[in-house]
């Protein structure tokens, strides 16, 4: 059967992707649905820097050195670039299993479980793998119909499984995962530097000007300074703290998700099998490792050939790839209070456990875990071990 000639505009694959992402620029940009806080971040950074360039830079360039605004511009450009890169890129979303793969896994699970007596709950869907002499449990994702790779987790806000899931950051409007973690880290690092830089030169500027004109007059001449100092003061505490926290995580090769769940801490638990036991090597792997490609193929063209089920070299010829598994998804978890997934608790039989990872609503230093969501919308039989 020959391929049907497409006469109208071709459908790109991003239009049919399940999950709660929004796409822009014909699939080039991928973000979460709620973008309000991201706009706020952008506004704060651009606004504060504009005030700095408008009020402080002319004075400092003349009285101190022209290098000061130049360096500020470079830093500002770097911050914005890293922010946009983190926000707009695919964090490492794992595509959902196609029906044949899902069935294959189901058959394997049933074969492994054997006969379950009527009325008994089937055992949890867990696969044990040995990684570097530690036993790691891989959990089954009921939404994506896959066994999650190690370190992957399902984000309830974006409704996707993300590889090496760190956390969902509302400030950048996206998940932070394998593909964009280093941009996120560079963003927080450069933002810390920028904030400290602006704060420091604000102080210098006020001091220098006050010597000439007096303190109150200075504030009258450059009212932006007050605003900048205020924003920078509060930003420094949170962003510098966050950078410090992530530096700690990187040196141990851990994710925020693992840190919150306490996967590798405590004496009875396994040690982190992914750590190289060497801070330098861990940092190098996270920051200078290879750049992973996106496996989503957002801009691929979907073929309209829906009758033949044969696979072609261009994947997902038929539109069933994008079909949402309607029955089992839990789409109703509250956006900013996702479920805390504690591996040790056995969830009650009402199926309150959903397979979502933690997402800290604020990216402050080790955020305290939010309480488990008591709402259990769908009957999901995943019980944690």
């Amino acid at each position: 059967m020959s391929a049907v000639m497409i006469t109208r505009k071709a459908t790109r694959k991003w239009e049919k992707l399940p999950g709660k992402n929004t796409f822009c620029c014909d699939g080039r940009v991928m973000m979460a649905r709620q973008k309000g806080v991201f706009y706020l971040t952008l506004f704060l950074i651009v606004g504060t820097c504009s005030l700095f360039f408008a009020f402080e830079c002319p004075y400092l360039a003349v009285h101190l050195s022209p290098a000061i605004p130049v360096f500020a511009v470079l830093l500002f450009v770097f911050v914005i670039a890293m922010l946009l890169r983190t926000s707009f890129s695919d964090p490492g979303v794992l595509p959902r299993a196609l029906p044949e793969e899902a069935n294959f896994i189901e058959m394997e699970i049933e074969a492994a479980n054997g006969n379950v007596m009527a009325g008994q709950r089937p055992p949890p869907r867990i696969r044990n793998v040995q990684i570097n002499n530690q036993i790691v449990k891989l959990k089954y994702c009921y939404t994506c119909k896959i066994f999650r790779p190690p370190r992957a987790s399902h984000c309830s806000i974006c409704d996707n499984c993300v590889d090496r899931f760190d956390h969902h950051c509302p400030w950048v409007g996206n998940c932070v995962g394998k593909r964009n973690y280093r941009y996120f880290y560079l963003f927080t690092l450069s933002l810390s530097l920028l904030t400290i830089y602006i704060f420091a030169f604000n102080i210098v500027h006020v001091v220098l000007r006050s010597v000439d004109s007096g303190f109150v007059n200075t504030l009258k001449e450059t009212p932006g300074t007050v605003l900048e100092v205020l924003v920078c003061f509060f930003t420094i505490w949170s962003v510098v703290g966050l950078t410090g926290f992530h530096t700690y995580l990187i040196s141990l090769n851990q994710t925020t998700n693992e840190d919150i769940k306490g996967s590798w801490s405590g004496k009875n638990r396994v040690q982190n099998p992914y750590s190289h036991k060497n801070i330098f090597k861990n940092c190098c792997e996270v920051l200078c490792g290879p750049t992973f490609p996106s496996v989503l193929d957002r801009r691929g063209v979907m073929l309209e050939d829906s009758s033949s089920p044969t696979p072609s070299d261009v994947s997902a010829a038929s539109t069933h790839k994008g079909s949402n598994p309607v029955s089992q998804t839990t789409k109703s978890s509250a956006p900013l209070i996702p479920n805390e997934h504690t591996p040790d608790e056995a969830k009650p039989s009402i199926g309150a456990g959903t397979q979502k990872s933690t997402s800290s609503p604020k990216e402050e230093k080790p955020p305290s875990p939010t309480s488990p969501n008591a709402v259990a919308p769908a009957v999901i039989k995943e019980s944690t071990h």
Binding site: M1, E101, V129, V136, D163, R164, Y274, P293, V295, P311
Partner: protein, 173 residues
Amino acid sequence: MSSAPRTATERTKLPYCHESFHNLQELRHSASLANKVFIQRDYTDGTVCKFQTKFPSELDSRIERTLFEDTVKTLNNYYAEAEKIGGQSYLEGCLACLTVYLIFLCIETRYEKVLKKISRYIQEQNEKVYAPRGLLITDPIERGMRVIEISVYEDRGSSASSSGSSTTSSSGR
């Protein structure tokens, strides 16, 4: 089942090796999909991309174990090369960081280059080894690098007796 035939002429006499499948085009046009086999990831070395070399029983009568293992091992080597953390990856990372990652608009990352090599390799393997046996490998990147999907085809022209697919043993044919 007798032991796997060694020479090329003997292989064409395998129960399900239809001589009409000389190339991929014919495979798609004259065959119907019978089954799909999924080769899972092997996580024993961590999160690097590596597939299990365990030979699936469904392919028992379709292809020799050694050919299959060679394919998977070569793929694993390619992925290891792509994900290798060494001098070249550091250089690429640092250079990219200095140019605010704009350099990736111009040049390809090492991973993308290796993915292209993998895609060519799979195409070549499909043409030379798998299509003549009524099989087709799907590039893992199209399945999220989770599985290697091997589609098993049956000749559409053959009768329903062969619709038992490759899971049955080849005895008595």
